[in-house]
Symmetry: C2
Subunit: 348 residues, 2 copies
């Protein structure tokens, strides 16, 4: 598998399938693992870092679940390609910086990826469309077992898995779900929901992880603590709370439809009209408009468009994707024009 091969396929987190996919975009579970007797990546010298890279790469190469994976040293990958991998949610924005001793492994369907020498030696991620945390966790668990047979993970009977940052110690597990909550935003209920979710031990962020703002009504919800609970308990807790948020978004959508349908229809179709006709458009405006159009599709207001096209537009209108499609570096202004071109072509 090569990086360019991904350009030809849908990325998993935007497939638009799976349970509750009208509200839940994707489910992600990741664990943090470190190899025992080796220093954490941030404290390791270059020889140790190379040792970690080699050990993980070799171990992964023989895991059946990872057959035909992309496996690359990030120092061998250009800036645009690195951003491209971030845009596909295959690695964190942090992993794209200071890349000398970092690598990335991505399974061909883009469901599994492993960051090597990010904050921990291994960050193993499984990503699926829709509200699917449990199955996602099972895949990850199986993979983790396979890797544990090949790599001695640092583990304390008292603390559980040892990690570079203590917030990950214990199960080392973080489950997160990407939600599309336009109705809660539209009616101003989102603040309350976010506060309540925070009090229940979950963390809410924007589209691209820590520190990023929620754009276009997309929210990424994950657990804060991974210590003192079993993996199943962590997953259970997220599933239960997310279930409540999803129910509230659904109810609110119905309320809007019965109380102010005309305003909603207006909003959705204006977004569609702008997308279909703009000749210059930024990333942020695109996400905001796609959010409105997606709601229109989910509620049956827009019928001549499917969720797949919307999801494809989310993906390919991102800066690195645009540049890979165009086959060359583009300035911000050039991207805004190219983005509008691409959207008009896709919506024709």
């Amino acid at each position: 598998m090569k990086i360019d091969d991904f350009l030809k396929q849908d990325t998993e987190w935007l497939k638009g399938t799976g349970p509750m996919s009208h509200i839940v975009i994707s489910s992600r579970v990741r664990v943090a693992r470190n190899i025992e007797k080796l220093p954490f990546s941030q404290r390791a010298d270059k020889y140790r870092l190379e040792e970690i890279l080699t050990a993980v790469t070799d171990a992964a190469a023989s895991v059946p679940l990872l057959k035909n994976s992309l496996s690359v040293r990030l120092k061998d990958v250009g800036d645009v390609d690195r951003l491209f991998l971030v845009e596909r949610h295959l690695m964190s924005p942090e992993h794209a910086k200071d890349v000398e001793y970092k690598s990335l492994i991505v399974e061909p369907k883009e469901i599994i990826s492993i960051m090597v020498n990010e904050e921990d030696h291994l960050r193993i991620q499984v990503l699926q469309s829709g509200f699917n945390l449990r199955e996602t966790w099972h895949i990850l668990d199986e993979l983790d077992n396979e890797l544990a047979r090949r790599l001695p993970f640092a583990y304390s009977p008292k603390w559980g898995y040892l990690t570079a940052c203590p917030t990950n110690t214990g199960t080392g597990l973080r489950g997160s779900v990407m939600l599309h909550l336009p109705a809660l935003v539209f009616t101003g209920q989102i603040e309350k929901v976010l506060q309540a979710t925070g009090k229940l031990g979950l963390n809410i962020r924007g589209l691209y992880g820590e520190g990023s703002e929620a754009t276009g009504n997309f929210f990424q919800v994950s657990n804060l603590v991974s210590l003192g609970r079993t993996e199943d308990e962590v997953i259970d807790n997220i599933e239960r709370i997310i279930g409540q948020i999803v129910a509230r978004e659904e109810m609110t959508r119905k309320n809007i439809l019965s109380r102010s349908k005309e305003a909603l229809v207006d909003r959705v179709w204006r977004a569609y009209g702008t997308m279909k006709n703009a000749h210059i458009i930024t990333s942020n405006e695109t996400i905001a408009l796609l959010s409105a159009i997606r709601l229109g599709v989910d509620l049956g207001i827009v019928k001549n468009l499917d969720r797949r096209t919307i999801n494809e537009l989310f993906l390919i209108t991102q800066p690195a994707h645009l540049q890979k499609i165009e086959g060359k570096a583009l300035t911000s202004n050039e991207r805004d024009i190219k983005r509008a071109d691409l959207i008009r072509t896709k919506l024709k």
Copy 2:
């Protein structure tokens, strides 16, 4: 001719034909006339007001140019119909108020109209599409001569025609031109142009005459003074100054096309996309969007739409027109929905 008959035809000022019609919407000339030995309308009692009404109605009835005209007492006309006549620029907003002793005569093509007992006994207006002041004046002059043969107009060899307000004394003539100046607005040059025009003795207003703001880049330019000059001199002066504004708008459009075409194209098509897809839309937004689309048509950016459709939309999306089309009174919110419906149907 009945008021409803007008609904089936284009109104003259929005025909979109005539010289320079890519920038000059319409040309209008009006004169103020009063019948001698009768008090001005605002000082006349009801017997005198009736006398004026009868005299003008009888005189107009025998003028060939006014054959088959609509001739109505405004007290016999409903609110919506009065607003409808204002929206078609056949009478002033002021003429629609306190209507007890007022009437209106409109020639079938809507080129000529006469307000009776507005500020003066007669306000005779001739309106044509495009930049056509001289021909417009000739029609008015001919009509004025015909009427003068039937009605003794108050005239002083020293002052000229006597009028209720001294600003109209002399020729009693006001020439005005409706301009579409999006490029001058877009580039911020409009303030300078307006100031210069003001210093040259012309007055600039919005779409609906005195006190109205310029909406959607439309400006109505007219002379301030009608005393101490011949009619031809007044017309000459307006034509010359308007010619300069038109030339500047044209040059600026060319500059924009060569320097920031993409931004202009974006603006035009976004306006089109919004118009074509909105489900709720106000009058003001409609005028602003139509202004952008008209510029797009004038510059060959929008090819699948003609100026006639745009002009029709200008006309029929106005509040009274919407209500006449719908055949019943509509609230402001209902109009915003109906307006969007109508626009979507016309642009399909």
